[in-house]
Structures are given as structure tokens and as C-alpha cells.
Symmetry: C2
Subunit: 120 residues, 2 copies
DNA sequence: TTGACACATTCCGATATGGGCATATGATGC
DNA sequence: GCATCATATGCCCATATCGGAATGTGTCAA
């Protein structure tokens, strides 16, 4: 099998760049399929397929509006991801502190180089 | 192709449940491959493969320690995910408010039912 | 050097995915 | 009913992925 099962959870759903883009677009309100497809430069069937996945994992909802079907963001579907990420919050500051340290080290190293060596 | 390219970014890397578990374990500090494999009930080659993916997207770092190789979490790799998720923050409260409303409606509906109908 | 241990890589098979294209389904208006 | 527009599905192909088993590589000890 490729990937545990189907794109059966939010994590898999947002692993696809185009699906992420769809979700971003939907932050601006509900949109019909064709508009999404056009905005993202994909074909209509592709948009439909991605939307199907997003629907199955509960990230979007649909509403019929005449001939059109308006897709709407359902951010609750992102909760699992949000929560999982939450477990790493405490590492953000640490990591960035370490990154800062690194930058400092770099600066210092540069200075020392310019003392004996010169640039490279 | 299945999925844009390889599991070439953090989103893809964390789409795999086992890889997520590895990351969670690594929150407790660096660990050798075998221990990870044992803790997660997977074979050593599998652990190695997942760790390779995690390394390639910058989610873990390795350090040789004698015969062992200690893997360490690098939470900075989660930044793209964190930032992308951030774009949806404002929907959390909204969604949950809406969920609360829904719960309220349910309660009310139940009460009204118990007036004319009875339970159900 | 040889052996033991920890880990990485490779090859295989099964399966799922995304893209492209054709086509089916659905709703609307005439 | 019929034509049309909007969307959903089905099919095929190329490719990537995961799992399993075998094997390669690296390190340490004697």
C-alpha cells in the first residue's frame, strides 16, 4: 500500500499542495468548483477530485446553489493537526533561540576570518 | 505520479502516522534507531526508512555515538506547517462557537421533543 | 582479521495517488 | 423532452509509497 490507507485523514489531505491552496482560497468564503479550478490553474475534474478528498476528511462542506455547488471551509477538520502540532509548541522558542545562537556564531566566525584570512 | 514528488516536505513527512509517532517520541530527547523501532513496534529497516524521510525534510538530525546513531528532533522543520496552520487560527473560535451553538440547538430540540413526543 | 552489533540500503510486490481525458450525472431554461 | 452549463466519475498510465526480507556498511572488541 502507498500511505497507510486512503487520504483518509486531515494530515494526508493537507499533504497535497493543491489541496492546501484550495483551503486557503476557501478562507475567503465559499466558492464554486470552476472558480477554484480557474484560480489554481487546474482542470475542473482535478478540482473536483481534490474537493472530494477534502470533503471526505471533513475539511470542506458543500451546498447546492442552482447548477453550482458551493464549497465552504470547515476548519474544524484541521483540529487534529492543530492539536498534534500543539505538542511541539514548546520547541518553537527553543529552536529559534538555537537558531539565533547559530546566527551569532556565524557573525563571530566571519569577523575572526576577516582578521587572519580575509574573505573566501 | 503519486503525490507531487517525494515526501519532500514536512507536510508529506507528517502525513505518515508512524513518522508522527517517531517525532512524538523524540520530543523526549534523542534516541537510537532500535529503541524507536521497538517502542513503535516496527522493524528496524522501517524505522530507518522513516527516519531517512524525516532527516531529508529537516525534522530530525543524527549524531553518531559509537555503534549507534542518535536521532534528535529538529522542530524547526515543522515551521512551514505551523505557519500554514496559523492562517486558519481565526477559524478555530468561529468553528467552535458554531459547534457550541449546535450543541445548544440540540439540547433545546431535545427539550421540545420531550414535551410532545417523548424520548427517541 | 574476525565476529558481533547497530544501522542503512536495495529489491520486490501490492497498492494508492495524481494527471489527463472521456463521459456520466444534475440542474436550469426553453 | 432537449440543449446547455456545472460538476462528478470512471478509466488508464506513470510514479511513489509502504512493508518485508535480504544484504550491505560501519564501528567496536578481542
Amino acid at each position: 500500500m502507498a500511505r497507510a490507507a486512503a487520504a483518509s485523514d486531515a494530515f494526508n489531505a493537507i499533504a497535497e499542495p493543491q489541496r492546501r491552496q484550495i483551503l486557503v482560497l476557501l478562507r475567503g468564503g465559499e466558492r464554486p468548483v470552476t472558480e477554484l479550478a480557474r484560480n489554481l490553474g487546474m482542470t475542473q475534474p482535478q478540482a473536483s477530485k481534490h474537493l472530494r478528498v477534502l470533503r471526505e476528511v471533513g475539511l470542506v462542506r458543500v451546498r447546492g446553489a442552482g447548477k453550482q455547488r458551493l464549497y465552504d471551509l470547515d476548519a474544524r477538520g484541521l483540529r487534529p493537526v492543530h492539536e498534534w502540532m500543539g505538542g511541539f509548541e514548546r520547541f518553537w522558542s527553543e529552536s529559534f533561540d538555537r537558531l539565533d545562537e547559530y546566527v551569532q556564531e556565524l557573525k563571530q566566525a566571519r569577523q575572526e576570518e576577516s582578521h587572519d584570512g580575509d574573505d573566501q
